[in-house]
Subunit: 211 residues, 2 copies
């Protein structure tokens, strides 16, 4: 089935939102934790976090202007810090619920039963129920001109994760940590590993990684 | 286990690359197809594609300066078009193999057995073995100052997908299309849907989506 540009432009709005959101493939599910100067906590689920580099260790995400994450960006700019916390099979429903529209004076933690915890390193709240917790310092943010979304880039300053799931070469087994994947706007998935593949070399057939 | 900024900075380089790459969560697996003015095809696996908006329909990805995708960015700038093609359970090994270092005059299609096909709409090659194929026009590209990676943004101008996996509300069942997810640098995963959740509203418990 072939959809042309006019076919896409003429789709019903909700149909188009679901259709286009499905196209990129499976997405990470993370909760962004932030705080404002009055100690008001904020927590928002996002599916746009991406790896940006290991050295320096950077991650980015897209903050949509019309989304309920609107408090997130202002908090991050205000304090300079945020956390990313993985969404697990045990609490994806609570994580999804953070996407409801709450007033700035309401904490998504209180509303969903997710529990804020703090480290000594940064002010932003982590999620107790998460099994991968990352503390980040804002290093760059810019506007995508074409549709006024914001790109937010953080430098990793802290990672909290069980050490028994870290493999010898540094890979963290996020499947064993019950991390879920997202597709479209609202589909949550568990995963099953096919295999790890060795570093690809020209002229050599793909083979499993032995560590 | 708590890793501080000095702990991270002092990690062995390969350990750090695997560790940091695991943190963002499950990632999409896509093949970027491009072509240069001399009709030389290029195909590269990337795990950084993200949804950027449905109206206009936009997708973005990160092009790393030190990666083997270096021909991809120059081709896209040269022609103004590229394709994104999902990686499936049937061909993830071939897709992984596109990450090997090939000369610009070698086509990753020829080297891996993935087959280029063309539509009448854009010049860039699609992958015959993919089950979701997206044609995009370059609309914006910018450099992330902090680490010199490039952000590439395309407007969707064409989608080729089986219509029997598109649900009534527009969601494309990418799991049924055998799309895989990636974690870290080299882990490929199939998925199993937990459920679709209804649009979240404050004061209402999370519930399954009925369509």
């Amino acid at each position: 089935m072939h959809f042309s540009l006019p076919d896409i432009e003429n789709m019903d709005h909700r149909f188009k939102v679901n259709f286009i959101n499905s196209l990129s493939g499976f997405k990470s599910a993370n909760l962004v934790g932030s705080i404002d100067k009055n100690d008001q906590h904020n927590l928002a689920i996002i599916s746009s976090v991406f790896h940006l580099g290991a050295d320096p260790a950077l991650m980015g995400f897209i903050n949509r202007p019309d989304s309920v994450e609107r408090h997130t960006l202002s908090n991050i700019i205000e304090t300079g810090f945020f956390t990313l916390n993985n969404v697990t099979q045990s609490m994806y429903k609570q994580a999804h619920q953070t996407s409801a529209r709450y007033a700035k004076t309401e904490s998504e933690f209180d509303e969903t039963g997710l529990i804020p915890i703090f480290s000594n390193t940064i002010a932003a709240p982590y999620v107790e129920q998460s099994t991968v917790r990352i503390g980040l310092e804002l290093v760059e943010q810019s506007q995508i001109k074409y549709n006024n979304t914001h790109l937010v880039i953080g430098k990793i300053v802290e990672v909290i994760v069980q050490d028994n799931v870290i493999q010898n070469d540094g890979y963290i087994d996020i499947e064993q940590l019950n991390t879920v994947a997202v597709s479209g706007l609202d589909n949550y998935h568990t995963t099953h590993r096919l295999e790890r593949l060795a570093y690809a070399k020209s002229g050599v057939q793909p083979k499993p990684l032995i560590i």
